[in-house]
């Protein structure tokens, strides 16, 4: 005679299912897209007047050729030193005449709405007029291109961090107040302009 087995308690089944459910919920959102966000320049409008030319000293030219070699401000450069070079260009601590101009807010003739707000929040600080101009060849590898973009981003992020620590005492990424974030973004803009690509070295 077969023994009657006691009924299995199904109460814990719900817990197990819940665990699975939560696992899937978490892993589904874990696969987030990461990357470097950029704004492309708007399409060229021929009816608009061309913007005023930028002084030579305010342009930080970075060229990458088809052999993935770097040229910064007319000289051969290295990926390892690019970050510091960029920082030096934007901060210009020695007030070098070949590096970017850094006028105080109060020294400038006109301020935009955002800049006035930044002036109020951050006080009279020096803001670089420097623009990074990045140009690549069609034969440049994407990996190298992104590494250069990364170094430029890192330089700007480090400067933002330093300014944030100096003014608010915390890192830029830890700032909560949207106005503060916006002020620092205005004071240290991520101004990377990309020229039209050139085809010199070929696609190979």
């Amino acid at each position: 005679m077969a023994r009657r087995s006691p009924e299995i308690n199904a109460g814990t089944m719900a817990d197990i299912a819940f665990l699975l459910l939560i696992f899937f919920l978490v892993t589904a959102s874990m696969d987030v897209d990461k990357g470097l966000t950029r704004m492309l320049p708007p399409p060229i409008d021929s009816t608009l007047a061309s913007p005023p030319p930028i002084k030579d000293r305010n342009v930080f030219t970075v060229l990458i050729n088809s052999q993935d070699k770097l040229m910064v401000k007319g000289k051969l450069a290295d990926l390892e030193t690019l970050r510091n070079q960029t920082k030096e260009f934007l901060l210009n601590p020695a007030n070098d005449t070949i590096l970017s101009e850094r006028p105080l807010f109060s020294e400038r003739i006109t301020l935009t709405e955002k800049e006035r707000k930044a002036y109020e929040i951050l006080g009279d600080i020096r803001v670089s007029r420097g623009v990074i101009s990045l140009q690549n060849d069609r034969g440049t590898s994407y990996n190298m291109y992104l590494k250069v973009q990364n170094e430029l981003t890192a330089a700007v992020n480090e400067i933002r961090d330093e300014l944030s620590k100096q003014v608010f005492g915390v890192r830029f990424t830890q700032l909560q107040n949207q106005d503060y974030i916006e002020a620092i973004r205005t004071a240290v803009p991520m101004s990377i302009s990309e020229a039209e690509p050139k085809d010199v070295g070929g696609d190979k």
Partner: protein
């Protein structure tokens, strides 16, 4: 229930006050149903990738906010090189596309979103790290012409550049 009988039916109104416990046997089924629902819906959006895509590693990678406002463009060598060749190709949605399809793709992606969100759409460029910049530049120029200016170079976050 016994109370009522013991007191000789005096408190028969209280009969049935002690409710039998609700069976929880069907709870797992409900949860399982939810589970399957989530499993199915989270996979629906992912399109099959026909190109080899291995993201380059950078140190400054940041999370993309608002996943619903991201549209992806894959660029890389086809996985099935025997059929599609080994030249880098562009993949939009579920199929290979040519460079001229991008304007239409951007328009369709805009159409699928709320009017208020349209200016916030980010185009995520999922480019394989072994690709040359030529094709990427072409795509960027097309995006520029289509006024899809917010782009994201998809990358892994690493502690050090390799």
């Amino acid at each position: 229930m016994w109370e009522g009988i013991n007191k000789m039916g005096k408190f028969s109104k209280k009969k049935g006050n002690a409710l039998p416990s609700i069976s929880t046997a069907s709870l797992p089924d409900i949860i399982f149903m939810l589970l399957f629902f989530f499993m199915v819906t989270t996979q629906i959006k992912k399109s099959t990738v026909y190109v080899k895509f291995s993201a380059p590693g950078v140190t400054e990678a940041q999370k993309l906010e608002k996943k619903a406002l991201v549209s992806s463009i894959y660029i890389g060598r086809p996985i099935e090189t025997a059929i599609y060749g080994s030249e880098p190709r562009i993949q939009l949605n579920d199929a290979f596309a040519s460079i001229n399809d991008i304007a239409e793709f951007v328009a369709a992606e805009r159409e699928a979103r709320n009017e208020a969100d349209r200016s916030l759409i980010t185009t995520s460029l999922k480019v394989d790290k072994d690709t040359k910049m030529g094709i990427v530049s072409d795509v960027k120029q097309k995006l520029r012409a289509a006024n899809a200016l917010r782009i994201n170079y998809s990358a892994r976050k690493t502690d050090k550049l390799d």
